[in-house]
């Protein structure tokens, strides 16, 4: 799981203590006054039996990096395929740089660079051959083709595999060739479908740096199911779930919104070396605003709990007081990192479920 590797990044989010309830600004108001490169209005895509994308609307301003966030099967790829004219919408409108995807697909395609989930490479071609082929497909020729091939392979750091067969390249290189292919004709808009999926952490960082560096020249939409990726690379986030738009917001607002309730890790030790975990748990549950107390570890005279607060309650001060007043030592009290799943469920309005590594919750749920 990518989340495992990158979970540390979440800590950064929750360090500054901003205890505001989810009063984040809604919608695309920050975008509307700038020139929007991509406009999607009430876009719907139905397959035979399922509705993959349901009435999605959003706008992307020129030069922005937008993260398209959602779990697998949320409709990210479908939306991107509509934007790239690969699939026609069932209803609604989508325009890229002012051109409608249904009415002027050729004009849209000229302005879009697209990296599908699996890089569309021909294993029997050499890197340079392939880039030249794609460049020609996109309408380049002669000296400008050569220039762009050099530029793209330089930019994506694939110059050292110029003469290698694509079929023999590693996953990381293939991904970069895929990116080079997308930027070869200097498109206004880059659409990247899970550009870091399947890469190792070092390659992920390199790819993110690369994408960030491309932001000045292009408007970028990238899809991902990894929240830190959005936080690191994007300015704006579009969250979708089951084909429906959940939120479009800036990263900062999203962070604030996710922070409605808190989850705290408490480590308590006894002065005399004997501590009854049951009593401690009872005591913690009595603190007002606490919704749930879960035991994480128990040793002699040393217990760790994870305490969830009710939405809108911030319980750390009360927790600390309760522990100290009971005569125990408070060794640690820090906010626990929230997983993507929790934040996501919170935003979609569902109840956060306990992860498999946690003990069975004993307290009452809200």
């Amino acid at each position: 799981m990518h989340i495992d590797i990158l979970d540390l990044h979440f800590l950064k989010w929750f360090q500054p203590r901003m205890f505001k309830c989810g009063s984040a600004k809604q919608g695309t108001s920050t975008v509307a006054n700038k020139f929007s490169m991509i406009e999607v209005q009430a876009l719907t895509k139905k397959y035979a039996r399922t509705v993959a994308v349901d009435q999605i609307s959003f706008e992307v301003a020129k030069g922005q990096i937008v993260g398209f966030l959602g779990p697998n099967g949320a409709g990210k790829t479908t939306t991107m395929r509509v934007l790239t004219c690969f699939l026609p919408p069932s209803a609604g409108r989508a325009t890229v740089a002012g051109f409608d995807v249904l009415e002027q697909p050729l004009e849209v395609k000229k302005r879009i660079g697209y990296l599908p989930e699996t890089p569309p490479i021909y294993p029997e071609m050499e890197t340079v051959e392939y880039l030249k082929f794609v460049g020609k497909l996109k309408g380049l020729s002669g000296a400008s083709l050569q220039k762009r091939v050099d530029y793209a392979s330089d930019r994506c750091a694939i110059a050292d595999v110029r003469k290698k067969l694509l079929g023999k390249l590693s996953k990381g290189y293939r991904q970069r060739v895929g990116l080079a292919q997308a930027i070869i004709h200097n498109p206004d808009v880059l659409i990247l479908d899970e550009p870091t999926a399947g890469l190792d952490p070092k390659q992920i960082n390199e790819t993110r740096d690369l994408i960030r560096s491309l932001a000045g020249d292009h408007t970028i939409i990238l899809s991902t199911h990894i929240l830190p990726e959005v936080e690191q690379t994007c300015e704006q986030v579009i969250i979708i779930n089951k084909g429906k738009l959940v939120a479009t917001d800036s990263v900062r607002n999203l962070q604030a919104r996710a922070r409605g309730a808190e989850s705290v890790r408490v480590e308590i030790a006894a002065r005399n070396g004997i501590l009854d975990a049951g009593i401690v748990q009872q005591k913690l549950e009595q603190v007002s605003g606490v919704s749930r107390v879960v035991s994480q570890a128990q040793e002699d005279g040393h217990v760790v709990f994870e305490v969830d607060s009710q939405k809108g309650h911030f319980v750390r001060g009360d927790l600390a007081r309760a522990v100290v007043e009971s005569g125990w030592d408070l060794n640690e009290l820090r906010p626990a990192a929230m997983s993507l799943e929790e934040i996501f469920l919170q935003l979609t309005g569902a109840e956060a479920s306990a992860g498999p590594e946690q003990a069975v919750p004993k307290g009452e749920r809200p």
Binding site: E107, K109, Y122, E129, F133, K138, G139
Partner: protein
Amino acid sequence: MRNTWIICRKELHSYFVSPVAYLLLTMFGLIFGFFFWNALGYFVIEGMQMEMRGQSFPMNLNEQIIRPLLSNVSVVGLFFIPMITMRLFAEEKRSGTIELLATSPIRDLEIIIGKWLAAMALYSCLLLFTALNFGFLFRYGNPEWKPLVIGYLGLLLQGGALLAIGTFISTLTKNQIIAGAATFGVCLLLWVLEWASGYETTTWARVLAYMSVITHFESFARGVLDSKDTVFYLTVIFLGLFFSARSMESLRWRS
């Protein structure tokens, strides 16, 4: 036009970088070489026997070697065409590269015609092998060249028609084996439809026989350029490519 050429070159490149083209060329060369050797051997022995009996029937290279061999090529071609066309679209759909083509500023028809032309080019290379053998006849004998040229034109038209059908079938599936098997089945059927006229003379039998690709090749093999047959092949080519375009469009609506 330019885009068609780009696609065509790319397809040719993948035929000739992989062993596909060389394997087909080798097999076809061997099979045709055997046919040629057989036909020539028979011709020579017959000629010697006649001379021994003191008879002098007119012997004709065109009638006795070239014409039956061209018919053979047209039948052997039926077996090779599925192997040429099966990968055209099925492979791209399987590997996802179809997304690259479909999101590039290029029309579906340009992609289809480009791929079909590449298949035609490979098929022409196969035919070139037969030209090598016929070259011997011209070196040591004195056949007429006009019927031979018309025969080749017929082979190209017939191949083009079947390749267009194969291209269409390849757009229908992700699986190369399914594409190949289905194309082979259709080619075979279009061949044996001719037999319908063998014992029946009803209208239906005549219609079925008319649809056979082999029926229309007969006149070309005889060295006769018949507009009826030419139009038949051109129609099948057009229909095959037209259906491919519709099929590619429907991919977008269905998938």
